[in-house]
């Protein structure tokens, strides 16, 4: 593996160490965000450090159940459990969006128990009309004011424009990494691409962009991997457990495209840099993020169709967390449409925080064997 990818792998193995060290050395205040629908650029422009909130896959949920019941998404419950256990010592606060009930109540629980100085809630529209974009821009204006007050810094138009450039550059580079997977014999595996994108949620984006440029240079002279592997698309919500991606590729497939919150949904497009004012530009881009909770089934299928057609997909794995009602709700219609329009086989696996991989491996291996045999 390249040195860059090894570094990225280390970062996502122990983000707490990386972030605590940065917090100590640079003294920057860190704000956690949830889901790819919160514009990190606002936080960055305020001189604060945005950090994507994920639970560390290392500890059973033992304290979070006191506030968030077991019938909620365990991904969200695990975050709260780890907040209660002090596992995010580098944080100064969080911005949590209106998405599913688990996330909305994560905000409310967070606000009531107040573990850090700053907490805010952002109403993401569940619509993509001009009216919705106009509303979202105003909502971003409110968040901007709250951040300015907390940071003690004004957010100028120039600083916001600069933040948009920094994030656009990073997303653009990640899209280039993603594009390499479209090749019939990709030079980068799905697991490696996962590490590249997951580390972007931890590292400073400018630093991460520097790493990506080096990585792309390395990859430009790398020999392609074996081209005969089954080409899969993985779709789901928060598919953050590296073991799952590794298990799928170890079973003989190549994940060449994804439709997950911590993957292509985070990098899918740029913010417009030149037109309507930075808040409206941000609103227009972030209202389009194709998460399940805010996206109609038809629009999700359009997004998935482009991935299937653009990456020569041979099979689709739905990896959906238990109690993720939005993804579960979309699954029957999406599954049917994928089978009907593309005649592709699909597999639905239910994931969970601290999932036991063994039973899933059996099903994934059988699915890949079936595809290798030309079945489906």
């Amino acid at each position: 593996m390249s040195n860059i990818l090894e570094h990225m792998a280390r970062v996502i193995r122990d983000p707490s160490m990386v972030l605590s060290k940065e917090r100590k050395e640079r003294g920057c205040k860190m704000i956690g965000i949830f889901h790819p629908v919160v514009p990190e650029e606002l936080i960055y422009a305020a001189g604060l450090r945005p950090v994507r909130l994920f639970p560390y896959i290392d500890d059973s949920i033992t304290e979070g159940d006191a506030h968030l019941q077991t019938y909620l998404c365990s991904h969200v419950r695990a975050v709260w459990d780890q907040v209660m256990k002090g596992k995010y010592p580098y944080l100064d606060g969080a911005i949590i969006p209106r998405s599913c009930e688990a996330v909305t109540f994560l905000y409310q629980t967070w606000k009531r128990h107040n573990p850090y100085p700053f907490i805010d809630y952002i109403n993401v529209p569940w619509k993509r009309s001009e009216n919705a974009v106009d509303f979202f821009a105003k909502e971003l204006g409110r968040i901007k004011n709250d951040l300015e007050e907390f940071a003690g810094n004004g957010i100028s138009v120039d600083s916001l424009r600069n933040a948009i450039r920094v994030y656009n550059r990073n997303r653009g580079l990640l899209r280039k990494v993603y594009a390499l997977r479209k090749a019939q014999a990709p030079v980068i595996s799905g697991v490696e691409a996962f590490k590249a994108v997951m580390s972007s949620f931890v590292l400073d984006r400018e630093e991460h962009s520097g790493l990506l440029e080096q990585l792309l240079t390395e990859l430009s002279v790398r020999s392609p991997g074996p081209g005969a592997k089954v080409r899969l698309l993985v779709t789901g919500g928060c598919v953050i457990d590296a073991r799952l991606w590794e298990m799928i590729e170890d079973s003989g497939a190549s994940v060449v495209a994804d439709d997950v919150n911590n993957g292509s949904r985070s990098v899918f497009t740029a913010v417009n840099e030149t037109t309507e004012g930075p808040l409206t530009d941000l609103a227009r881009r972030y209202a389009m993020v194709p998460c399940s909770f805010n996206t109609a089934n038809t629009d999700r299928f359009t997004y998935i169709s482009e991935l299937i057609m653009g990456s020569n997909i041979q099979g689709v794995i739905f990896a959906i967390n238990r109690n993720c009602e939005a993804e579960k709700f979309d699954y029957p219609n999406l599954d049917q449409k994928i089978r009907e329009k593309f005649n592709l086989p699909t597999l639905h696996i239910e994931t969970d925080y601290l999932t036991d991989m063994a039973p899933l491996r059996t099903r994934v291996e059988a699915f890949i064997e079936m595809l290798n045999a030309g079945g489906g």
Binding site: E139, S292, E325, K328, F329, N333, D335
Partner: protein, 406 residues
Amino acid sequence: MTEKTRRERPAFNKIISATIERHYKDIQINRPLGYALMAPNPLVEIACAAGIQPAFPENYAAVSAVKHLSKKYCETAEAHQYAPDICSYCRNNLGYVYDSKENPPLGGLGRPDLLLLTSSACTHYFKWWDALHEIYKIPLIYINTPRVMEPQAMPDYYLAYAIREIEAAITQIEDIGGVKITPEQLSQAVTLSGEVVDYWQKLLELQKAAPCPVNLTDISNALFVLIALVGKQEGVDVIKAVYDETKQRVADGTGVFTKEEEKHRLMWINIPFWFNLGLFGYFEKRGCVFPLSDYTQYIWGTTKMDGARPLESLARKALGGELNSSLDDQIGKMIKDIKEYRIDGIIAHSNRSCRVLSVGIPDVVEVIRKELNLPSLVLDGDHTDERVYSDANIMNRIEAFLEMLG
């Protein structure tokens, strides 16, 4: 233990039953038919002004649960890949949609011509109506509203957004139906809706009396008017009859029990177990009455409706209510009302299907215990899926709780 005998149920239950039957007969006949979200939905008044017949899949899911058909419908939905961790209201309805529909209860829910959705409740509803949109391929009229975490400090642009959403919905309905909703028609519907709300608020006030005049099951019945008949004169007439009778009961000192027999005044948090409404009969035998529930108190009928400002009233309705508010706001209201309704114990249904009403329950009961020193019992269950309800377990826990209450 001496079993208590409740007095005769209020006569208005018969009026409500007849009203519900009439509603379901109308569903079979009137067209166009719109499936409307039951949570505070301003599209009901607009539908009324436009001559659209609303039908309510959640209400029908509850009806199906009462008739013990939920198992069948949920299993049908699950066979169509709708997972068991999806709300059972949704699974009931989707199961009904895919069912053969031989002799459905109350004649069935009809085949919709359009879908009327607002986002003032939870993610499930957006995905549910979207699924119906996929199945029926009919127009979806959808009002998107933000969640209001601090109702006392709601930004102006929230209201402006909701008003524009309502204006767009009206235009969409006019275009689809080829009708024109005049300002007078809209104003009239909102005025009548306002009269229903005013009576409802006065009715809830009467529940503070001791003895408590009517029980939660009676109030839950009457709730149908707040959902289905806002915007119609029929709604005003029915809710007025409910109010008048309840007021007379208070004047006469007639309650669920006599004042002496009213042993405990409890609060019910969340939606009842629709398949086991008999549970409230068990509480009655133990001298317990429920004058207060968040389900009947804070969701519907919480917004003043002014016929002179119809768009603003409808927008405020879409933005209001417990389902679109915050836990802090809910807890504040509960603490105040628990004192005013003289509640001495809390029963909370931790309802795996209704997360928006359930997730805050651990915080709610903790605050009530600390601030008011009141005992509470949390029951795990589901509003319509009987398969996850354990009667023996629930009854053991209730029995222990009542013994502790004394």
